[in-house]
Symmetry: C2
Subunit: 411 residues, 2 copies
């Protein structure tokens, strides 16, 4: 009676996950611990870094890389802010020939022109590629911070970057440039230090996180925190939260591009469908998740994901961070007041196919800046098909807008 209705389905993807998990037990250190991208190291000691939510770091370090030459008057520096998962390695150089995450955007004649500008890119505070973050050793205890690391904000990240600028003797930036979480940072830099930011570029970002984005990140964090191996953040030296991290980092950034690239194609259309990855889009996501989860620290993801949720340029939110009330009044006037310091020439880029940071959020940035009296706001809405990742890919349209904004002679 072994009829068709009694056949047990097979789940090779579940077996594979269990196998990988076993292999990680006592296995090699995670990849991010071994990443040295040829970065320089800035060590901040002396005054502790006091953070928005009451924590502090007695000392911290930032990994950073630079391209081009700093002018004698130090007027040609551009601070490039990264997205959540990127290292300071934005472009290849003598110490590290590997391609960087913005390889085609940086170089002689490129959008960030190294013949003209001195580009600085840091691994952000809270990250895991050389800068102080949850996976770093706490100098006070000699142990990794894990979830004893203080809660941090986009503003904290930017303040740490400006400590580096102080160290380099750079008073005023030619520009602050960033996309995605980096676009939040460039906005925060302009709001916090308006006199030190000459021009601003913010790409595929927002002026405050909206419920849909919070919902997406909330789900990712819950997936990760529910992995027993996460162990409230204390997994270093044990089995990392591999499964939770893998699934948490399955992002679904694009729409139209996937339609063209994957459509409804299956990875093997000679076999019956299964519950395990089956459509090409699924094997693609599975592979992306597997790759990323071995390269990034789970606790860094948690802290930086939460920092994005809390990002809000509204005046009341910025004040309340200081006096410990954090809800923002939901009021456009409040947001406009908070963005009032941002009066430098600003380029806002949005992509119509972006599902993570929908283009109405970039429109909101541009509108608020204009209502706050900024008369030099450029807002381009791109029809690229790559969704949120467009800024990484589309050097033709994104690159030209960036170059134009950085080099345009202003009366």
């Amino acid at each position: 009676m072994a009829s068709a209705e009694q056949q047990q389905l097979e789940f090779p993807c579940v077996d594979l996950l269990a196998e990988r998990q076993r292999a990680l037990d006592g296995g090699p250190e995670p990849a991010y611990d071994r990443v040295v991208t040829g970065y320089e190291l800035f060590r901040h000691q002396g005054d502790p870094l006091r953070m928005d939510h009451g924590g502090q770091l007695a000392e911290f370090q930032l990994a950073y890389e630079t391209w081009g030459r700093l002018a004698a008057d130090k007027s040609n520096a551009i601070l490039l802010h990264t997205g959540l998962s990127a290292s300071s390695h934005a472009r290849s150089h003598a110490k590290n020939a590997a391609a960087g995450w913005w390889e085609k955007f940086i170089g002689p004649g490129r959008p960030l022109d190294t013949d003209k500008f001195f580009i600085i890119c840091t691994n952000m505070l809270g990250g895991c590629y050389g800068s102080t973050g949850p996976s770093s050793i706490n100098p006070v205890t000699g142990e990794r911070y894990a979830t004893r690391f203080p809660m941090l904000t986009i503003f904290d990240i930017v303040r740490a970057q400006f400590c580096l600028l102080d160290h380099l003797g750079i008073g005023r930036l030619h520009a602050s440039v960033g996309a995605s979480m980096g676009g939040m940072q460039s906005l925060a830099a302009a709001a916090l230090f308006p006199e030190r930011v000459g021009r601003l570029i913010t790409i595929s970002a927002c002026a405050r996180s909206h419920p849909y984005s919070i919902a997406l990140r909330h789900t990712q964090r819950q997936v990760l925190m529910s992995d027993p191996n996460w162990n409230k953040g204390h997994y270093y030296g044990g089995i990392p939260p591999h499964i939770g991290m893998k699934i948490a980092t399955i992002t679904y950034r694009s729409g139209p591009e996937w339609e063209r690239r994957f459509g409804r194609k299956r990875s093997d259309d000679t076999i019956e469908p299964t519950m395990c990855p089956d459509f090409l889009i699924e094997t693609y996501l599975d592979h992306q998740g597997e790759r990323f989860c071995l390269q990034y620290d789970a606790n860094s993801l948690l802290y930086l994901s939460k920092a994005m949720d809390m990002f809000d340029l509204s005046a009341s939110a910025q004040q309340r961070v200081n006096d410990k009330r954090h809800s923002s009044v939901d009021d456009l006037a409040d947001l406009i007041r908070g963005m009032a310091p941002i009066q430098m020439p600003t380029l806002v880029l949005g992509v119509q196919s972006d599902l993570l940071f929908p283009h109405w959020q970039q429109r909101e940035i541009a509108q608020c800046l204009r209502k706050a009296g900024n008369r030099m706001v450029t807002h381009y809405e791109l029809d690229a098909i790559y969704g949120h990742d467009t800024f990484l890919i589309d050097v033709v349209t994104v690159g030209a807008a960036v170059k134009g904004h950085l080099e345009n002679q202003l009366a």
Copy 2:
């Protein structure tokens, strides 16, 4: 030296999940096992139900409920198809006074007018509210099917429903009506049995699942299947995959409505932010996930989620289901050919704020039907703010369109 930077963060949400999990060990049967909504039971015996992917069910049962009276000539029946998680209880009645999932849409004078029509709603095959599904006892073995249940498709679900219609002696429906996964079923019914479907209504659905939707459901399934308690589907009698199910079912259906309802409000703005649910949108999602996961069977979710992914009305896909090759040629002409049988008056509704089934997918349905020669296609695009759930909420706009389409006298 107990400085601020050494304070361990607290994670009450993780503790709570662990506690709930312990409470479920040997605890009461899940809620869905106890749901008897006052449904009738149709038992199909005799010919086995042969399924698209090679499996079969020697027998099966469908839970169904009805409203209104079947005319003597049996010409006034409407088959109402449900979304993934709904039971057959679409409206309250004498045997069960609880409000149904389409309570305001059914009744005297309502969009589905019980003075005129005889409405039938089933719990779909594969579900867990009275119909045969993975949590049912396999009569052959005396044990629950679990993941020995055969893979099933939207077409299989519809064929089972038409067995019920045969049993009731209903040859031709006045209409086949459904939203979301139910809107896939109503389309499938019209394509499979065009001579038996008088009018068609499909709301917030699609003619074939697209990569973005597959990506979302893929992630949900991976979350669920990675919960050790899921145990490849064999959790009945043990601890159910509570955590995996809870997180898998955190959906993020709306955008604009959340903006108005939650904005950036926090659940308690007198305390510092935490990694656990903190913003109102997070506590809302957390609560929704907790509620749903106790009411629905995890294996039903897996099977029906996969059935949605595989849904494709393209001619080649429909043929290949039969000869065991399942990839569809990515070709609009192919889809138009597959939809050619659907020549009855058809209402297609889409909602601009729908992120799960974007409105271009409903436009695709309408365009393909028209290109296939259907001259009675009505397509309304709604500007409601409730996203995918609009069909459950907006009786004013959705209801009027439904009523008009069902009652309009056709020359």
